[in-house]
């Protein structure tokens, strides 16, 4: 009887798991136990950490870097095509700073490219020693007062200045300036522009030129953080879109929203649109208000009583349920909290449609509110944690080092804990957007999701609590505390445990919760369909850890690593200090 359900799940896995994250799928999908194996193996803390050890597929550029790259590209093209750097700059700008595109187009049809871009094969000089008429002001000048682009169309210096300065003040179009002669398309090189314009205009022009290298280039974008001047150069293909700028802001290179891994860009944009108040307001009104039967203004009901009085000047008294005049109501219709007329009419099916819509709207609103509140709470919690982290680094660490007689280098575990908290709050926040869009009928996935999210969340709460409250007690003491080392162990342990929980959560969501199928597969052979949340804890405990992982369970210092949460416990403990899981 389950076959149809299973088919359904399998199909959905494919559709959820878009190519954005496909890099991860390959390594996960070899067999059903992959997840358990990964889980136990993680204490090695090496390259398999998907959050922090990913090979970087982007570079942060400051203004000098951008200049350098731009110059570099220009030099490259200029030497490959044997053209001046002015001409190379014009070509590159035209082909959005893609060196390979310029190359391809040029060698496919140089003549055509020259025509499109306005680069003449040979430049024509102004006729020597003659008097010439300027094509703009129509005054006659000697040739030394005239200037022209490669085409030789003569204009006087004043008119050139006016022409170029008007273009610069009109916007970035000045980067594609052509000869003013309407029949001519000759491009105007940077040299000429810079020679002729005022200091202010030159600065504006150079600004546009630099910006163009970032904004017209498909590989680069500005960091969207307010006031940040860094740009990010991104190597498309493979890996995630998450980028952390040198200003410490993390964002998605693809959609430039704040970093939202493991949730995909579509879900994020849907969610953000959802949050824009208007659409929700409509639902709220639909769920909680009805038009006054007399004046038609929407009436909002906020208490239990069905006796409604419309606001002045209308003041019509009516029954919320049947919308009939209250004068027809009273004891005989059921009093203040019910309405027989409504019940009777409902039996006959009169109110079904509107009522059903209202109920649905109400439910969907409640559901949305549930997810939104948690999303927003984690958001503000993250902001707070960021501020706390800053305060920690600026003030508390020094004080703590003083009080506890510890060199600051020994207190790195505190910064690490706070960095982990900030990152986890971000991930957790986005999992609420994910959860909102997880279809209700995907029961197994929902269960797995809620389980993983719940584990991650409670791990994070413990860590946050420890970093916030317990740390404080070591700050406000007179001398070194005896148990500071224990605190260090605990906080570092919680940090690593929480990191593991979140890695699991992220990995599972990026795989479209496809573990459900793997688990489903195992349990189906056992004849039951008890998969997902409740059972996975047990199945993990029993799950055979690969020998390699087992042998590593006790390290040199005699600590044993908890199978479940990887925390390194002291030898004497029989129960994990972090998760109470038995050794």
């Amino acid at each position: 009887m389950d076959s149809e359900d299973d088919m359904h799940d399998a199909n959905d896995v494919e559709s959820v798991d878009d190519d954005f994250y496909s890099g991860e799928t390959a390594m996960e999908s070899d067999d059903g136990d992959a997840a358990d194996y990964e889980f136990i193996d993680n204490d090695s803390d090496e390259d398999d950490d998907p959050v922090s050890h990913r090979s970087q597929n982007y570079t942060i550029l400051n203004e000098a870097d951008i200049h350098l790259r731009q110059e570099d590209n220009i030099k490259k093209i200029s030497s490959i095509l044997s053209i001046s750097s002015d001409e190379a700059a014009i070509l590159l700008r035209h082909y959005n700073w893609s060196v390979s595109k310029v190359n391809d187009e040029w060698f496919a049809n140089e003549e055509k490219v020259r025509r499109i871009v306005g680069l003449l094969e040979e430049s024509r000089a102004l006729p020597r020693g003659k008097e010439l008429t300027c094509g703009i002001c129509f005054e006659v000048y000697t040739c030394d007062k005239m200037s022209s682009a490669a085409c030789g169309h003569p204009f006087c210096v004043t008119c050139w200045q006016g022409y170029i300065s008007t273009a610069i003040n009109d916007g970035p179009g000045c980067l594609m300036l052509r000869c003013p002669d309407p029949s001519c398309g000759a491009a105007i090189g940077q040299d000429m522009i810079i020679k002729l314009v005022s200091h202010d205009d030159r600065e504006k022009y150079e600004r546009y030129f630099l910006r163009s290298f970032v904004e017209d280039n498909r590989k680069t974008k500005w960091c969207p953080a307010p006031g940040c001047d860094y740009a990010v150069d991104f190597i498309v293909g493979g890996g995630t879109f998450d980028v952390t700028c040198r200003c410490s802001y993390s964002f998605c290179w693809n959609c430039t929203e704040e970093a939202h891994r493991p949730v995909d860009c579509d879900t994020v944009s849907k969610w953000i649109r959802k949050n824009s108040a208007e659409s929700e307001n409509m639902n709220w009104i639909l769920a909680n208000s009805k038009p006054c039967p007399k004046c038609k203004r929407p009436i909002e009901k906020n208490q239990g009583c069905m006796h409604i009085t419309c606001t002045p000047p209308c003041k019509f008294e009516f029954c919320w349920l049947c919308l009939g005049a209250w004068s027809d109501h009273g004891e005989r219709t059921g009093g203040f909290y019910a309405c027989n007329r409504y019940e009777a009419a409902k039996q006959e099916g009169v109110y079904d449609d509107t009522e059903k819509r209202r109920e649905m709207a109400k439910n969907s609103l409640e559901r949305y509110t549930h997810f939104y509140e948690r999303w927003a709470t984690n958001q503000s919690s993250r902001q707070k944690a960021l501020a706390d982290l800053q305060q920690m680094q600026n003030i508390h660490l020094e004080k703590l080092s003083d009080k506890q007689c510890q060199p600051e280098s020994q207190l790195k575990f505190i910064t690490e804990a706070w960095l982990q908290i900030v990152e986890c709050r971000r991930v957790l926040k986005w999992t609420y957007a994910y959860g909102y869009y997880l279809p209700a009928h995907e029961h197994a996935k929902r269960q797995l999701f809620e389980y993983l999210q719940g584990e991650a969340e409670s791990g994070l709460e413990r860590l946050h609590q420890c970093a916030e409250k317990e740390l404080y007690s070591y700050l406000n003491v007179d001398g070194p505390s005896k148990d500071f080392n224990e605190f260090r162990m605990k906080l570092a342990g919680l940090t690593s445990v929480t990191r593991n929980y979140f890695e699991n959560l992220v990995r599972a969501l990026e795989n479209g919760l496809s573990d459900v199928d793997a688990r489903g597969g195992t349990s189906r052979t056992g004849g039951s369909r008890g998969l997902g949340a409740g059972s996975s804890k047990n199945s993990r405990n029993k799950g055979a850890a690969p020998p390699a992982a087992r042998s590593r369970n006790i390290d040199d210092s005699g600590h044993w690593s908890c199978e479940y949460c990887t925390f390194a416990n002291v030898r004497s403990a029989n129960v994990c200090q972090m998760c109470q899981h038995r050794r």
Partner: protein, 161 residues
């Protein structure tokens, strides 16, 4: 950029005045065929009579163009409109605004009133049907309180009518 309606009220710069005097002199010696400049002493606004070219849909019809020059002419384009009744043409709105790229984005200071006139006449002559642009009513309504065509964001129709 200053708005054209404001700049047209500003007096012409010295450069603009010199250039317009030269254009006017050239026009008197060598007027474009089919056009007549109506003499006034206002250098900043020219009124020009246009005669539909023989053998075209507008043969024997006469229209009036009004050309207003901004302070920084010719670096900025002049504002050119037909004085209603404007010719019935797929790129000319009933309020006289003309959808022609050289009057806006493609203006170049090396163009002149005379070259603009020739372009407008050629646009009229190549027309194969006498009708208003599809969005005439909407556009004209949007322009009600004296908006200049230079404030419109034009996207240009196909060159062939």
């Amino acid at each position: 950029m200053t708005s054209p309606s404001a700049s047209s009220r500003k007096v012409l710069s010295k450069i603009a005045t010199n250039r317009l005097q030269k254009e006017l002199m050239e026009w008197q010696v060598n007027p474009p065929a089919g056009f007549k400049h109506k003499v006034t002493d206002n250098l900043q606004r020219w009124v020009i009579e246009v005669n539909g070219a023989p053998g075209t849909l507008y043969a024997n019809e006469t229209f009036q163009l009004q050309v207003d020059f901004p302070e920084h002419y010719p670096m900025e384009a002049p504002q050119v409109i037909f004085v209603p009744p404007a010719p019935l043409h797929p790129h000319i709105y009933s309020n006289g605004h003309i959808c022609l790229d050289i009057l806006y984005d493609s203006w170049s200071p090396a163009m002149t009133v005379s070259s603009v006139c020739i372009s407008i006449l050629s646009m009229l002559s190549s027309s194969t049907s006498k009708q208003r642009p599809a969005d005439d009513e909407r556009y004209v309504k949007n322009c009600r309180n004296g908006r200049s065509p230079k404030e419109t964001r034009w996207w240009f129709h196909d060159d062939k009518v």
